[in-house]
């Protein structure tokens, strides 16, 4: 019981949507997995700056085209949901149907400037779960995993698995990378607290000044990294998502205890 997932850790070419589409399509066609996941903004590249405005229509055209492959896929793209309102989105294809899932938390600090370009999703409308075979899953994008709520909400809505397509750049070069330790710690905590699988699919390679470090991984509901891609290079990584792991983790955790009053307090802060 469960599904096989493949992470495709690629170096997207900045602004070269057609090239990136070809790469996505060929990876999709050759994968043996039930579902294939790519990094954040994998179809367009991440450090787009004002190219966002010019590329959004093309990104949506190629997202539609990717959905025609008929494979379960999660990739990063742009979506204009109303005139002038653009999402940093995950394109989620299930049973040939394309859904755009927006990023909620848009980093705008340090090297990030997402609020300049994007509008955040609305949790009441945009938190959604999908199903492949017997597994329910949700998607949050990169910075969303640096907050407790999005993954917790998806888990409580029934997700057994949460994909986290990301574009995480290196800051200080160390071994292991500080940012790699942070990501594994974060997703380990999310997985443990919520009894879910988390799948981190990171961009790799240089875009402008930034260098994305890869290091994608599968985190089990019991907090174990079950498969891990190398850092600094392109890679494909297969992993098994089993519902037994979800079941076992929830027998011995208090995930089932949900005290709504905490959220009421949070709501009024």
């Amino acid at each position: 019981m469960g599904v096989k997932v493949e992470i495709v850790q690629i170096k997207s070419r900045l602004g070269k949507i057609r090239d990136n589409y070809e790469l996505h399509a060929s990876e999709l066609r050759s994968s043996t997995a039930d579902c294939v996941v790519f990094p954040e903004l994998s179809l367009t590249g991440y450090v787009l700056r004002d190219l966002v405005y010019e590329l959004v229509a093309e990104a949506q055209r190629y997202s539609e085209k990717l959905s025609e492959e008929g494979r379960c896929a999660i990739f990063g793209t742009l979506a204009e949901v109303r005139p002038g309102i653009i999402w940093n989105a995950a394109g989620v294809v299930v049973d040939g149907k394309l859904t755009y899932v927006p990023k909620f938390f848009l980093p705008t600090y340090g090297l990030f400037e997402e609020r300049r370009y994007f509008q955040p999703g609305d949790p009441k409308r945009d938190l959604v779960t999908f199903r492949i075979r017997d597994v329910n899953f949700g998607v949050v994008i990169c910075e969303d995993a640096w907050h407790p709520e999005p993954i917790e909400a998806l888990a409580r809505m029934g997700a057994d698995l949460v994909f986290v397509p990301s574009a995480s750049p290196v800051r200080r070069l160390s071994q292991p990378l500080d940012i790699q330790v942070s990501w594994q710690s974060l997703l380990r905590a999310h997985s443990l607290m919520n009894g879910v699988w988390t799948v981190f699919s990171n961009m790799v390679g240089a875009q402008e000044e930034e260098f994305f470090w890869g290091g994608s991984f599968f985190m089990s509901p019991r907090g174990k990294v079950t498969a891990e891609a190398p850092i600094m290079e392109e890679s494909r990584l297969l992993g098994d998502i089993t519902l037994d792991e979800v079941r076992l983790s929830r027998r011995f955790s208090s995930f089932r205890d949900h005290i709504r009053e905490f959220h009421e307090v949070l709501r009024n802060l």
Partner: protein, 280 residues
């Protein structure tokens, strides 16, 4: 952290990973630029020795240009020749003496001011590097390090006029350690830094502080974002040194940015017209 602890923290890099990363990025940057290779001016100093080494590891298509003048110490020319030979670049280098061009510029400007002629030297070197680069269809690989770039210790459009700065995020003291790791000869690693734009010029003499102190201050002020008094106290240095570093950094901001464009239109370059470098 006192000065020594701060420096130990700065030096504590995995130089294997740093070298591998820089070589890989250089290789990719050249490939994505559409150019065939890279050229670097080799002076006999540590920065250009490190960049030459990285470049020779990134591509077979490299070229080393030695551009000495009468103010270049003979030892530097010798060291640059030895280094480029050690890197296997005997057939991929050229020595161009620049005194004739400098004299010509000096006579037209009617000045013997060492600063005027010194900066002209750096710009003449830039002109020659770009001419060779264009002939070879290569990029000009810069040798500036983070200390020099922050302190503004470079000539605008001279050694600052390059296509890419592979070691621009490493302080001078870190570059020395990377050099040692890469096998740069010890005499280059430990040589006092100097642009050699006039005889007897040394970077530390001109700046009025050692690179160890400068780097610790720069790191504390601009990466740790601590205030001047706190930095002086923590490092155990006189506040006047911290203020001097601050002043050098602030005064040279114009060197690190593209020239200001006076705005007239609805969308002005750099202001609200921001595209990635890798656009085409």
């Amino acid at each position: 952290m006192d000065l020594q602890q701060k420096l130990s923290h700065l030096f504590n890099l995995n130089y294997d990973i740093v070298a591998e990363y820089l070589v890989k990025r250089l290789r990719e940057y050249i490939a994505e630029s559409g150019k065939k290779g890279g050229i670097v001016g080799v002076s006999g100093g540590i920065d250009s020795a490190v960049v030459a080494t990285l470049l020779s590891r990134a591509t077979h298509n490299y070229f080393f240009l030695l551009l000495p003048s009468s103010s270049t110490p003979a030892r530097d020319v010798q060291d640059a020749l030895e280094l480029t030979e050690m890197l296997g670049g005997r057939d991929k280098r050229e020595v161009v003496e620049i005194d004739g061009i400098v004299r010509e510029v000096g006579s037209r400007v009617k000045s013997e001011d060492p600063l005027v002629l010194g900066n002209a030297k750096a710009r003449i070197r830039m002109t020659l590097l770009y001419a060779f680069a264009q002939k070879l269809d290569y990029l000009v690989i810069g040798t500036g390090d983070k200390s020099e770039i922050l302190l503004g210790y470079f000539t605008k459009y001279g050694d600052g006029g390059v296509d890419v700065l592979p070691i621009g995020d490493l302080y001078k003291t870190q570059v020395r350690l990377l050099g040692r790791h890469l096998g740069v000869p010890e005499k280059i690693v430990t040589k006092p830094s100097s642009p050699a734009l006039w005889e007897g010029q040394t970077a530390e003499g001109e700046l009025g502080l050692s690179y160890e102190v400068a780097d610790a201050i720069l790191y504390s002020r601009f990466e740790e974002m601590k205030g001047p008094e706190e930095v002086a106290k923590e490092l155990g240095v006189d506040i006047s040194l911290v203020r001097r570093v601050d002043e050098l950094v602030m005064r040279s901001q114009h060197k690190r940015l593209p020239p200001e464009i006076f705005r007239l239109s609805g969308r002005a370059i750099n202001s609200d017209w921001r595209y990635p470098r890798a656009w085409a």
